[in-house]
Symmetry: C2
Subunit: 214 residues, 2 copies
């Protein structure tokens, strides 16, 4: 498998964790999101992935864009170790928490959106930072409550094992810290992340240990 990736992309970080967790070897193909106006927007990449985003996973000549589609694909192809519970209602709740990060938090902080806020809406750095933190705090607040409801051992977002939510939480918390969020207001999430960071699948997916890290 090949993974089109960028070391600092939070969505690519998710895909790397899922690949590592499933024990799937893959080749990294970095696409730099800033260089040359964004290597993900160049014609050769758009031919591969018309969505023009990272990550994208290539398997058997087919390219899959969107980190959550990649995670679901890996879960179907490599059921063990699982990243979703067995019970349908529990699976639904894990997906619901995961989508809370993937739909309601991440899209509002990513580069193309904050670039638009800065350039097209004429907002200065302080306003862009405030924009980012508004959506991060809103989302983390909700997630903190849901983890308090659903975590079994306090070391995972849901139940007692790693699920899709954990795969999305750690990258989101790394971004939150980078953007100046005071994560100490979310003690349940901090505790889960402390555990996740000890797991090789998560540690080896961190931005700073990627081949394209700067």
């Amino acid at each position: 498998m090949k993974l089109y990736t960028y070391y600092r992309s939070s969505a690519a970080f998710r895909a790397r964790i899922a690949l590592n967790y499933k024990g799937v070897a893959y080749e990294s193909i970095p696409r730099h999101l800033l260089r040359q106006g964004g290597e993900h927007r160049q014609a050769d990449y758009l031919k591969v992935n018309p969505q023009g985003l990272v990550p994208a996973l290539e398997d058997d000549g087919v390219v899959i864009g969107q980190s959550l589609a990649i995670m679901e694909y890996l879960e179907e192809k490599f059921p063990e170790p699982p990243l979703l519970p067995r019970d349908p209602l529990a699976r639904a709740q894990v997906r619901s928490m995961t989508l809370g990060i993937a739909c309601d938090m991440h899209p509002l902080q990513n580069l193309r959106v904050t670039n638009y806020v800065a350039r097209e809406l004429g907002q200065d750095d302080a306003q862009v930072a405030r924009w980012r933190l508004h959506w991060i705090d809103l989302g983390l607040g909700v997630l903190e409550e849901m983890v308090n409801r659903h975590s079994g051992d306090g070391r995972h977002c849901f139940g007692n094992s790693v699920t899709f939510v954990d795969v999305c939480l750690l990258p989101q918390m790394v971004s939150a810290r980078r953007f100046g969020c005071d994560v100490s207001r979310y003690p349940a999430l901090v505790k889960v992340c402390e555990h996740l960071e000890t797991l090789p699948a998560f540690a080896n997916a961190r931005p700073e240990v990627q081949p394209d890290a700067e």
Copy 2:
């Protein structure tokens, strides 16, 4: 089953289509997104769904937030008629196109985000409209190309039957039209929607035929 819904919510529209398509009877519980500062933000609803958004599906006393989590749940609980192909790579591509709408388009147009753009970033109505159309056009342009690649019969986004992408496309196109998007630039999408609108599952889920329609 109970569906917490709002007639004009694009995400609730998806959940209604999926429920209808699976032939699942449900009780509608409307939460008005504008009245009283948003009935979805009131304490009684936050107890039910801490994410404070619609739709949410209640089954067996468990509440599932997020339309895509609801769709995956219904697909697992009621496999027939399917809303995902059987082949894992095809499923992945359907999910990828679906997430293109759910993550990269919808969150940027929804009410709480455009309210923030207007009130906190001080943008006038014209700038808010331009913001919405920017993300709608970017997303529909990508989807038009993907439907051209993946549609089988020209009446569905992927292959020859209804999938998750179709469930998300029609609500997105209804919003796009409402916000003044010239959808004639996306002929493949228009053609798919013309077909979808003839299907009872889609027609009966339209905002204007909901009990809470205004």
